[in-house]
């Protein structure tokens, strides 16, 4: 035993040495294929981030230039203290952002959990129900905000759906947003002597924004929770059923503790997103829902205070990190670490190689004692059994006595009621997700040249003229949707392809190779996701401007191609994780077989791995395409001229364009036609490939 133990480490060292030398070429290959990702990271994230931090410490502005004229802490001072107008705004908007983020995420979490639990059951049409969840996700946030703002929540005078329904029941109209939106409560002033802007209260507009965000993101959230639910094997529920657990006990004692870490990750992602809120609130043009991101954008575009803008972005990032840490702490499995330590201890005991003979002797004694104890126990076994028998005699088997016909009737009734409730819940879920989209399509076919005089469930004057306006004339008003569609297609398509190339290389490196700093690479990719786009977009602008000052040819501002790099940087993490999980599923043996057949590392990748991962690549492309197609913030800052609008930008522009109000057609209806054109193709694609997309989303999230 003693000798044998001593030999082990030597063997290990030898093995490791062998591994190191034989893996060398592979490590080189892995590092090589990581290069594109590293470049994307440096120029898409790192340099802009450094610039962002830099200018947050300068008086950078439209007057003093991008890099400002002096280094100063004034930006932070101005925002963090309550004195000036900017500081008070900052506190106010931070408060609003937090109010929005926390309430929205809590609601989404509750609702998403219910959706996920419903969808985790086996029932006819589950695929269809799951597919409807993808509809809100596929719509640009700006489009969904538009639907709600102009169709569902609008006042009775504009035939808003909710208010019309309220009217049917003879109820009073509700102002969901705008100047007369119901004031719900004043903000508590937590800096007593210098309150925030006192005339802003939390009003119904905020609730409307939260509702829009809940509608838009709950479905996606529930898919993530659904993925987390897959870690609980069916048998556990059966075992719990038999142990006598009711539905709530099954959830609280088994499901929740097991899904907590997975849900925690989903929560972190959602919280990051919610704090960065922009698209859902910008459309209301209302100070009571302004977010931190909006404030930063205003600093940038209205008052040209670049330093301040960057400072807001950085403070927002810090806030995000605080929340991420908080949520992770709250949802981590506390006992997980403990048991790991225990295992470590055990391992240590097993691996004791430098024991002295006396120690070995002691160990032997201990085991002897253990064996003795065991024997004692087994002798006492018969006694134990007798005692169990005794207990048995006392506890009379309950079932034999207590069954009455009424009890059975009760169970039957309960089962029926449960079934009915289940069906109702599923149907409401599907309606919740699909109805707004169906509504857009219905409304898009209403003739916009005939003024509406009453609420119409189905269009009274169906026609295609709305589409004609959108695709034809409307460029008279500064927005060309056909142009925007083309732009979106070019931008999203290019981004998709670039992300696929970079992401598949990176994903492959992470899936199949070991290389130095691999964990660091994963971590870096991960932090890319948590960065608010805002923190990058302005410095990126400055970066490109500065470079093009030297090489004019590279001036990509207000150019679609200029957005490909940051879009790639922001979509790379998801793509990498999704593709990695697809690559990991490819059996190791196949890879070995190709190796034996004499294929080089790159040949293996291009000839064996990639063809097999085509479903994964395709899914990934759709995910990235949709994300890029729907992005607003970057596009708004970057693409200033009309002919470079993307679809969400065009929708926003259309909504905000005062010229369109003078048109002889109904703006709302044309807007619906525009939204329909820009979303129907996406939704159709998403519904067709729903299975792969759900798999892609969930595998990426669970691994990430």
């Amino acid at each position: 035993m003693y000798d044998f133990d001593l030999k082990l480490p030597e063997n290990q060292i030898l093995n490791e040495k062998k591994k190191k030398t034989s893996l060398n070429s592979e490590t080189k290959f892995a590092l090589k294929i990581m290069i594109p990702a590293v470049l994307v990271f440096i120029f898409g994230i790192l340099v802009p981030l450094v610039i962002g931090i830099l200018i947050s410490f300068t008086d950078s502005s439209g007057i003093t230039g991008y890099f400002g004229s002096k280094v100063t802490l004034l930006n932070y001072h101005e925002l963090l203290t309550y004195g000036g107008i900017n500081g008070r705004h900052f506190w106010q908007y931070t408060y609003q952002t937090l109010f929005f983020a926390v309430s929205a995420v809590l609601l989404e979490f509750g609702l998403g959990l219910i959706f996920a639990l419903l969808l985790n059951k086996d029932f006819k049409g589950r695929g269809l129900a799951r597919a409807t969840l993808l509809i809100p996700w596929a719509l640009p946030t700006i489009a969904s905000a538009t639907i709600f703002r102009y169709e569902f929540l609008s006042p009775l005078s504009e035939y808003g759906v909710f208010n019309s329904i309220l009217g049917l029941f003879g109820l009073r109209e509700i102002s969901f947003f705008g100047a007369d939106a119901l004031t719900l409560f004043s903000l508590p002033a937590f800096i007593p002597f210098a309150p925030f802007i006192t005339h802003i209260d939390i009003s119904f507009t905020m609730i409307s924004c939260i509702f829009i965000d809940v509608w838009k993101t709950t479905p996606f959230f529930s898919l993530l929770i659904l993925a987390a639910l897959q870690v609980v094997p069916e048998d556990l529920y059966k075992a719990a059923d038999i142990a006598g657990a009711n539905g709530w006990q099954k959830f609280s004692k088994i499901t929740w503790p097991m899904i907590k870490p997975g849900v925690g990750i989903a929560l972190v992602f959602r919280m990051m997103d919610a704090i960065r809120v922009y698209d859902a609130v910008v459309i209301f043009r209302d100070d009571s829902v302004k977010s931190m991101t909006m404030q930063a954008v205003d600093f940038w575009s209205r008052s040209q205070k670049f330093g301040l803008s960057s400072t807001v972005a950085i403070l927002e990032f810090i806030l995000i990190i605080i929340f991420a840490i908080l949520i992770t702490k709250l949802t981590s499995r506390k006992s997980g670490k403990k048991s790991e330590k225990k295992i470590e201890k055990k391992l240590k005991i097993q691996l004791k190689i430098d024991q002295t003979p006396s120690e070995i002797h002691e160990d032997a004694l201990k085991t002897q004692r253990k064996i003795d104890l065991k024997e004692k126990f087994s002798k006492s076994k018969d006694k134990e059994i007798k005692e169990i028998d005794k207990i048995k005699k006392i506890s009379v088997s309950p079932i034999l006595k207590t069954i009455s016909p009424s009890m059975i009737r009760n169970y039957k009734r309960k089962r029926k009621i449960n079934k009915v409730i289940f069906v109702i819940l599923i149907i409401s879920m599907c309606i919740f997700c699909a109805l707004p989209f169906i509504w857009i399509v219905i409304r898009a076919f209403r003739n916009p040249f005939i003024a509406q005089t009453s609420f119409e469930m189905f269009p009274k004057f169906p026609s295609l003229e709305g589409f004609q306006v959108v695709l034809g004339q409307s460029d008279l008003y500064g927005v060309s949707f056909s142009r925007a569609l083309l732009n979106g297609f070019i931008l999203a398509g290019t981004t998709g392809i670039v992300v696929l190339i970079v992401g598949s290389l990176t994903g492959y490196a992470l899936a199949k190779f070991e290389f130095p700093a691999k964990n660091l690479a994963v971590l870096t990719i991960f932090t890319m996701t948590s960065m608010p786009a805002l923190i990058i977009v302005i410095p990126y602008f400055i970066q490109v401007k500065t470079i093009s000052g030297i090489i004019p040819f590279l001036d990509l501002t207000d150019n679609l191609l200029g957005l490909v790099l940051p879009y790639t940087a922001f979509n790379l993490p998801l793509a990498t994780f999704v593709l990695r999980s697809f690559f990991e599923e490819i059996p190791e043996d196949l890879w070995k077989a190709a190796k034996v057949d004499g294929a080089s590392n790159f040949q293996i990748f291009s000839k064996v791995i990639l063809p097999l991962a085509i479903p994964g690549l395709f899914t990934c492309f759709i995910l990235v395409f949709i994300a890029a197609w729907n992005e607003l913030l970057f596009a708004q800052i970057w693409l200033t001229s009309d002919e470079n609008h993307t679809v969400p930008r065009a929708i926003l522009r259309f909504v905000q364009n005062p010229l369109s109000l003078q048109a002889d057609w109904d703006t709302d209806l044309v807007l619906m036609a525009a939204t329909a054109i820009s979303t129907v193709p996406l939704v159709i694609i998403v519904l067709i490939f729903q299975k792969q997309i759900i798999k892609g989303i969930t595998s990426g999230a669970v691994k990430g």
Binding site: D241, G244, Q249, K253, F377, I391, S397, I399
Partner: protein, 369 residues
């Protein structure tokens, strides 16, 4: 503690997967009943129905005199062991074992006492603080058993509990489960697809195929007097040899060979629906020699597998009829060698070609007890 009775149980999964068909089964109090059958025949479904995890489409389930057909699992007072063990990964062994008792809000001292006792019986007292992932397969198995014992249920239900263990551990646990059941005297329904497990553990075996019960009987009954060709082929390893033959007067003809029939065999086999019959004999009920002996057929040897205690020989005779034989100890032969084989008629069976029923032993589906 209780007898279990299934009456005309049918289970149809939507849309029209008819899994259990008119199942009638009586499981005695304190009995060790093994459900065995090929994969997908409905064993787990049957167990789930007894547990209440699935509801019957039609039929009745009785525990003793109580009709439990509509009751949910928790009202049936039973315990179940799953193939995957279904241990809760986030609870330690103690919590796993006491889960049901804690749900029932039993007194903590009583819970601890029961857990300790069960742990002692199963030799896992020093594992109580561990999480399932820190246990070996065999230990997990014991914890799963322990979780059943502490409940003091009226029925144990085991669904292939040993199929994840290696061969050695499996035979050891087999012994322990038998002992446990005999000591606790709890009715046990045990599902397996392994006929060796069934034979070695059961008081009685129920053989299922395609949703129908094929036979219910003690191990020796199902081995010696299989009710039909399926049971005959399913029980015993290597499986029984089946040879198609034609009845010709008082003889059976297979190929060029003629087998004389005794009075009883002649009489019983004449009830067949046609002239064509299936003759069945077990490999272990054969005598094989290299020299001719009385009543022996000449055969050609195909494969010889020496297993230590015995040799399994597959051979061909009368043109393309292949079969197997077992010879005790070592039997030396090469492929293509000639040998002589005989099988005593008393231990052979004759099956009807159409109904597949055993004509020699007419056994009821289930003896009314």
């Amino acid at each position: 503690m209780v007898s279990v009775k299934l009456e005309k149980v049918n289970k149809i999964f939507a849309p029209n997967v008819h899994v259990l068909k008119d199942l009638d089964l009586n499981i005695q109090d304190k009995e060790f009943m093994v459900l065995v059958g090929p994969s997908g025949c409905g064993k787990s479904t049957c167990l789930n129905i007894i547990a209440g995890l699935e509801l019957v489409t039609d039929g009745k389930i009785m525990f003793g005199d109580a009709d439990v057909t509509e009751l949910p699992p928790k009202e049936r007072n039973l315990a179940m062991v799953f193939q995957s063990y279904a241990l809760y990964p986030h609870m330690d062994v103690r919590k796993n074992m006491s889960f049901a008792l804690r749900l029932a809000k039993k007194d903590p001292e009583y819970i601890e006492e029961m857990v300790q006792k069960a742990a002692n019986i199963l030799d896992i007292s020093d594992l109580l603080e561990r999480k399932p992932k820190e246990l070996s397969g065999g230990q997990r198995q014991r914890v799963a058993l322990g979780r059943c014992i502490v409940r003091d249920p009226s029925v144990f239900l085991f669904d292939e509990p040993l199929s994840n263990l290696d061969a050695k551990l499996r035979s050891q646990m087999r012994g322990e489960i038998i002992k446990l059941q005999k000591r606790l005297k709890t009715t046990l329904v045990y599902v397996t697809h392994d006929q060796v497990e069934a034979m070695s553990m059961a008081d009685r075996i129920t053989i299922l195929n395609d949703g129908y019960i094929q036979q219910v009987g003690t191990p020796s009954e199902v081995y010696n007097t299989p009710r039909n060709k399926f049971v005959a082929g399913f029980i015993g390893s290597p499986t029984m040899n089946f040879i198609e033959c034609v009845k010709d007067g008082k003889t059976l003809k297979f190929g060029d060979n003629i087998q004389k029939l005794t009075e009883i065999f002649d009489e019983k086999s004449s009830k067949a629906s046609s002239e064509k019959l299936i003759f069945g004999f077990r490999p272990e009920h054969t005598k094989i020699t290299s020299e001719p002996h009385e009543g022996a057929y000449k055969v050609t040897i195909n494969v010889v597998e020496y297993l230590g205690a015995q040799t399994v020989i597959s051979f061909e005779f009368s043109g393309k009829i292949s079969a197997m034989a077992i010879s005790p100890g070592f039997y030396s032969a090469n492929m293509g060698d000639t040998a002589y084989i005989s099988f005593p008629l008393e231990e052979a069976h004759i099956f009807d070609t159409e109904t597949n029923m055993n004509l020699i032993h007419e056994v009821p589906l289930q003896k009314i007890l």
